[in-house]
Amino acid sequence: MARTLLWVLPLIPTITALLMLTTRARRILSAIDVGSSAVLFALTLVLAREVATGGPQALGVLRVDDLGLVFLLLLVVLTLAVSIYTVGWLRQAVEVGNMKAEHLRSYFALMHAFVATIVVTVLADNLGVLWIAMEGTTITSAVLIGYHGHQHGLEAAWKYIIVTTIGISFGLFGTVLVYAAATGVMGGAGAMNWSAIMKIAPMLDPGIVRIGFVFVMVGYGTKAGLAPMHLWLPDAHSQAPTPVSALLSGILIKCALLAIIRFQAIAAAACGPAFPAEVLLVFGLISIVVATPFILVQQDIKRLLGYSSIEHVGIIALGLGFSGSVGTYGALLHVVNHGVTKALAFFAAGTAIARYGSRDIHVIRGLFAVAPIGATLLMLAALSLAAVAPFSIFVSELTVLRAGIGRGHWVAIAIFLVMVVVIFAGLLHHVGAMVFGEPTAAAGRQAEAWSPLFGMLMLAAMIVLFGLTIPASFGGLLQRATEVVVG
């Protein structure tokens, strides 16, 4: 059963993508979209149950373990929320002419092709397949980022495809080096499979794995949006259609982190845990520091959220860099919490942008007066992003902090805390000004549509729940995933 699911899961979005090309009617397209995401969601829950009882399952180049499952669950939650959100978002976007009705089917086809490549990325055991799927996500999402077809969108898409393609070429180079080290020990067969490499990892040549890990870190780090390789991220996140931004920030950059975690586990076994941890720590701190000033001076709400993603990816890298079971657990929890929160933030920002017809923070004013529910959700997302208790990100950032204290990384902790406080002030200043006060003349007065709200409420419920308590079954999954990484 679980093995069948391994090849069925990537097939569902692939078939859906093809199915989308057969019709032009918006309602039918949206129905297929939501239906397919719901099926993917349900089957992933079945797979999660099978893995919880039967352990990791492998099928050829694909394999699912607890670590991959964390990312897979995040993916299906976000795709379901995105599909529900898209129903209402699209109706509005077609009305004002942001999306052309005759091109909708290619949009949906690309979205599902994008999801299919992410599914393969998460399920890949073979590190070559992981790379191919990752480049696949770049190609599909690059077209989606430039989807609006105007000059700025295409500029962002070009920067994205060039920077990330060259970035993950480095990732491929690192993969080749690790493969070379593995063939030296076990011969060619299966030497590209992560599970096989992990069995012999302590015998790998440390010198070559070290160079390989640095290449992988720079390569997949580019895709993850870690500074100083983050240059594509604010442009891509601000120019993409809102549902695409939510997926980019919510899950895509996390998939690149999953690749880094896989290589971190190999490198930790081959050359000791200290080396990969230090590299991650440095990149994490740089990202947090680089993101801060841009968050403070930002005028464009979606760029603001993009820079905030760089900060949070930095925090995840920091957690991985503190390493040990507490740091890794905190990092994985932060992957989920940030993914859900950032998707909600993009959704809420997207509806506000649609209402005011502008992305400028100075134009979006008094949102609470015209759209109370949407404004509350935007505020909730911002509070969580700023690590305010009792929301989910507060819990994971605290766990990362605890790991750092346990390891005695005092300098890193000091920098981290200062930046988090500054970002807290900057973020709440921006969002507070948008939510409260008198609405500007640009504000649309129409009632709030149910579909975007329903998608957002689903994510908001998760943010509140994860802030109060982590459900036992999910906590157990995170614990087992942590053991996969730290052994």
Binding site: G128, Q151, I166, V176, L177, A180, V297
Partner: protein, 218 residues
């Protein structure tokens, strides 16, 4: 062929690869750079054929053939087609002077050899100087992309960079598994296709080079 002959041939090919890379960096016209990257891909295909004969690994023949067809013939042809279609008036447009880029390139090559030398005994197990040449090619491709302002030159840099990876994969591990190599080449084709469409689309709407747009800041 005995191993020493193979080693010598691969080393010679590596030197030629670095030479084509220098040609790409020094090129003042885009068509010259495209010719150079095509020649580079041809050398990679030859290296694949040599290693296939030496090791008896039949997959390498397939990889050599695909590299020859796609990267040495089809992709350069597409790039030439785009150049004609765009009627490129501006040629290379370096951000920093070509001579300065060449000096940087020399530094990168020296660094790559130095890095590999530090590996010591491991390097002995790997075919000749393939590793430093591969690292140098990959990094120099990035250098080209970073220091040129036109979309087509950036694409040439990208292909050169991937040539470096393929060369390393061949020489270091007798090639990755065939299915993976095919998948990687497929990705390269798709990426090139999407990039070409973007370049043409921007040119048709605003008559500007996509890599030269700089409205998104901050």
């Amino acid at each position: 062929m005995n191993p020493e002959t193979v080693q010598t041939i691969i080393d010679d090919l590596g030197a030629l690869l670095l030479f084509t890379m220098i040609l790409i960096i020094a090129a003042r016209q885009i068509s010259h750079a495209i010719h150079a990257v095509a020649a580079q891909s041809l050398l990679i295909a030859i290296a694949g054929a040599v290693l296939a004969t030496a090791t008896g690994n039949e997959d390498l023949w397939v990889i050599a053939g695909v590299t020859l067809a796609i990267k040495a013939i089809v992709l350069p042809w597409v790039l030439h087609w785009v150049v004609r279609r765009l009627n490129v008036r501006r040629e290379i447009e370096p951000v920093i002077a070509i001579s300065a880029t060449l000096a940087l390139a020399v530094a990168v090559v020296v660094m790559a050899f130095h890095l590999s030398a530090s590996l010591g005994p491991v390097r002995q197990a790997i075919t000749g100087n393939a590793l430093p040449v591969g690292i140098a090619l990959t990094l120099l491709g990035v250098l080209v992309m970073a220091t040129r302002m036109t979309a087509l030159t950036q694409m040439v840099g990208l292909f050169a960079s991937e040539n470096g990876i393929f060369f390393t994969a061949m020489a270091v591990t007798q090639g990755m598994p065939l299915i993976i190599e095919i998948g990687v080449i497929l990705d390269v084709i798709l990426a090139a296709l999407v990039m070409t469409i973007m370049v043409l689309r921007v040119r048709s709407t605003v008559d500007a080079d996509i890599a030269d747009l700089d409205r998104l800041r901050g």
